[in-house]
Symmetry: C2
Subunit: 331 residues, 2 copies
C-alpha cells in the first residue's frame, strides 16, 4: 500500500452472499472513483484466491485468515470462537491503527460483540446502535436503532437521538429534525418508555425534536432522523422490504406479456433499485470507538460499494472523534 492512500478500509470479505465476485466488483468501483483510498481484504482460504486474481492494484492487499464466522453466529460465540476470523482480523486492524474503518456483511450480533470487545465504546455508551438510511418520497431518512438493541430505556432512546444528531451533522452538514417512532402522534400515546424519551429529547436544546412519528409517515420524509428501539426498527425496515418485494412481484406478473411489458420492466427495475431499503446499503455502528459499517449480507456490488464509500466518508470526516467530543461535552 502506498503512502498516498490517506484512508484505509479493512473489508471483511466473508459474510456477503455474493462472495468474492461482489466484493471484487465493489472494490474496483470504489478504487476508480477515489484516489485516496486503500483496502485490506480479509478473506478465508477459499475466497482469497478469487479475490487476489481479480484485484491487481497496489492499493489493495489481500490477507488470508484462518476462518470466517457463520452468518448466524451470535455474540457469545463470536467472542469465544471469533479469533483468527476475517471479522476479528478486520477489527484488529482498526484497533492497531493499520486501518481507518471496517466494512462487514457478516452477522450483526457478532459484529456488534466483536466491535465492543476489540474497539470498546465511546464515553457513556453501553451498547452501540445501528443506523441506516431508508428511502422516502423526498430524501433518504436516517433511522436508528435497527436491530442491535431490543431492550432500551428512555435514556438509551435519548442517546440514539444524540448519536444520530451528531452523525447527520458531521456527514451531511446540517442538524436533522428528529421524530420518535410511536403508534400515534398525540402526546399521551404509546408506552411509558417512549413518552419519557420524548420528554428527554425535547428537553435537550441541541436537538431539533419534531415529536412522535408513525411508521407510515417515515416514508413521507417529514423528518430527517427517526429514533426507535431495535425491535421496532427491525420490524419497520423488514416490513418495508417485504411489502416492496410483494409489490414488485405483483407488478411483474401484471405487466408480463403485455404490449408495454418490456418498457415497463426496465422502468420498474430502475425504480426497484432506487427504493429497496436493502439497496440503501451501509449501516454505521454508532457509539463504538472506531468506524464500523454493517453491510447487508444479500447486497449487490453497487450496494457493497455504497457501504465502502460511507466508511470512507465517516473516516475522512473523523465522525468517531466528533462523537467522542460531543459525548464528553455533556451528552
Amino acid at each position: 500500500m502506498t503512502e498516498a492512500t490517506r484512508v484505509r478500509i479493512a473489508v471483511d470479505a466473508a459474510g456477503t452472499d455474493g462472495g468474492a465476485a461482489v466484493i471484487s466488483d465493489a472494490v474496483e468501483q470504489v478504487l476508480a472513483g477515489h484516489a485516496d483510498l486503500g483496502f485490506v481484504l480479509l478473506a478465508d482460504p477459499d475466497q482469497a484466491a478469487g479475490l487476489s486474481s481479480r484485484l491487481a492494484s497496489e492499493r489493495v492487499e489481500v490477507r488470508v485468515c484462518e476462518h470466517a464466522l457463520p452468518a448466524d453466529m451470535n455474540a457469545a460465540g463470536a467472542i469465544r470462537r471469533g479469533q483468527g476470523s476475517t471479522m476479528w482480523q478486520a477489527l484488529e486492524l482498526v484497533r492497531e491503527g493499520q486501518a481507518d474503518a471496517v466494512v462487514s456483511g457478516g452477522s450483526t450480533g457478532a459484529l456488534m460483540a466483536l466491535s465492543r470487545h476489540l474497539l470498546g465504546t465511546l464515553p457513556g455508551v453501553e451498547r452501540p446502535a445501528l443506523m441506516a438510511a431508508i428511502p422516502t418520497l423526498t430524501h433518504p431518512v436516517w433511522m436508528l436503532d435497527l436491530g442491535a438493541n431490543i431492550h432500551v430505556d428512555a435514556r438509551r432512546l435519548l442517546e440514539f437521538a444524540q448519536l444520530g444528531h451528531v452523525t447527520c451533522q458531521v456527514l451531511e452538514g446540517k442538524a436533522p429534525t428528529i421524530g420518535l417512532l410511536n403508534v400515534g402522534t398525540e402526546p399521551g400515546k404509546g408506552p411509558d418508555v417512549i413518552r419519557e424519551a420524548a420528554r428527554l429529547i425535547d428537553e435537550d436544546s441541541a436537538l431539533d425534536y419534531a415529536g412522535f412519528i408513525e411508521a407510515d409517515q417515515v416514508f413521507s420524509g417529514t423528518v430527517d432522523l427517526v429514533v426507535c428501539d431495535g425491535f421496532a426498527g427491525n420490524v419497520l425496515l423488514k416490513s418495508a422490504e417485504g411489502s416492496i418485494k410483494l409489490l414488485f412481484a405483483s407488478l411483474q406478473a401484471e405487466f408480463r406479456g403485455s404490449f408495454c411489458g418490456l418498457l415497463a420492466r426496465r422502468r420498474l427495475k430502475r425504480l426497484h433499485d432506487s427504493l429497496d431499503p436493502a439497496r440503501h446499503n451501509g449501516a454505521p455502528m454508532l457509539g463504538v470507538r472506531g468506524t464500523v459499517i454493517k453491510s447487508h449480507g444479500g447486497t449487490c456490488s453497487r450496494g457493497f460499494a455504497r457501504a465502502l464509500e460511507l466508511a470512507a466518508l465517516e473516516a475522512r470526516k473523523n465522525l468517531v472523534d466528533c462523537l467522542e467530543r460531543q459525548l464528553l461535552a455533556g451528552y
Copy 2:
C-alpha cells in the same frame, strides 16, 4: 325492520372520513348482495339527513344520536363523555340484543374501551385484541394484535394465538399455521417475552405453531396467522402502508406522460386496490363479548362494505360463542 332479516348490524355512521356518502354506498352494496341482513345506522344530527335521503329500504333504520366522538378520543374520555354518542348507542344495541354486530370507523381506543365497558370480555380475557388481514403473495394473512395492546406478556401472546386460531377456524374452516413475529428466526433470538411466548404456543397442542417469523416474511404468506404485540403490529402494518404509498407515488411519476402511461395507470390502480393493507378493511375485536369490527377511518365504500360483510359473517358463524366455548374448555 322485517322479521326476515336474520342478522342486524349496528353501524356507527360517524368516524369514517368519507361520511354519509361512503356509509350509504357501502350499505347499498351489501343490502343488494345479502337478503338476510338489516342495518341500524347510528348518526349524529348532521349526518342523519344525508343518510336517510339516500337509503330507502325497510331493512335500514337511521337513528339520530346526540353526538359523535372525535377521531382522537381516548379510552378514558370515551367512557366519561361517550354516552349518547353514535359509537355508544351502536354498542348498546348489541348489549340489548337488538343488533348482532357493530361496525365502527371511529377511534380504536374509544371503541376498545366502550366495547369492554358495555359488552364485557370473554372468560379470562383482560383486554380484547385487534386482528386484521394483510395482503401477501399467496393469500391474505391474519395478524394480531394491531395496536390495541402495547404492553403484553407471554401469556397474552399465547392468548392472541388462541383467539386467532379459533377465529380462523370458524371464519375460514381450517386451522391456521401460526408465526410469532420476531427479529430473527433462530430459537435464541429476540426479547425474553417472545421466547417465553414461543414456548407456551409450542406447548399448546391445539395450535399449529410454525416458529418465529420476521416482518419481511409476513408478506410471503408462509404462515396464515401472525402473532405480535400491538406496538410491533402497528409498526408493521403502517410501514407496509407507507412504503406501498411511496412506491405508487414513485410509479405514477415514472409512468407519467409516457407512451404506455394510461394503460399502466389503470393496471397500477387495480394493483394498488388489491395490495393496500388499508383496503383489506375490517378488523375483528377479539375477546369482547359481542361482534365488534373496527373499520379504517379513511376507507372507501368498498372497504366499508367489506367490514360490514365481515361483521355479518362473524355474526352468522356465532364466532363469539365459539370463542367462549374454547376459552371455557381450557384456554
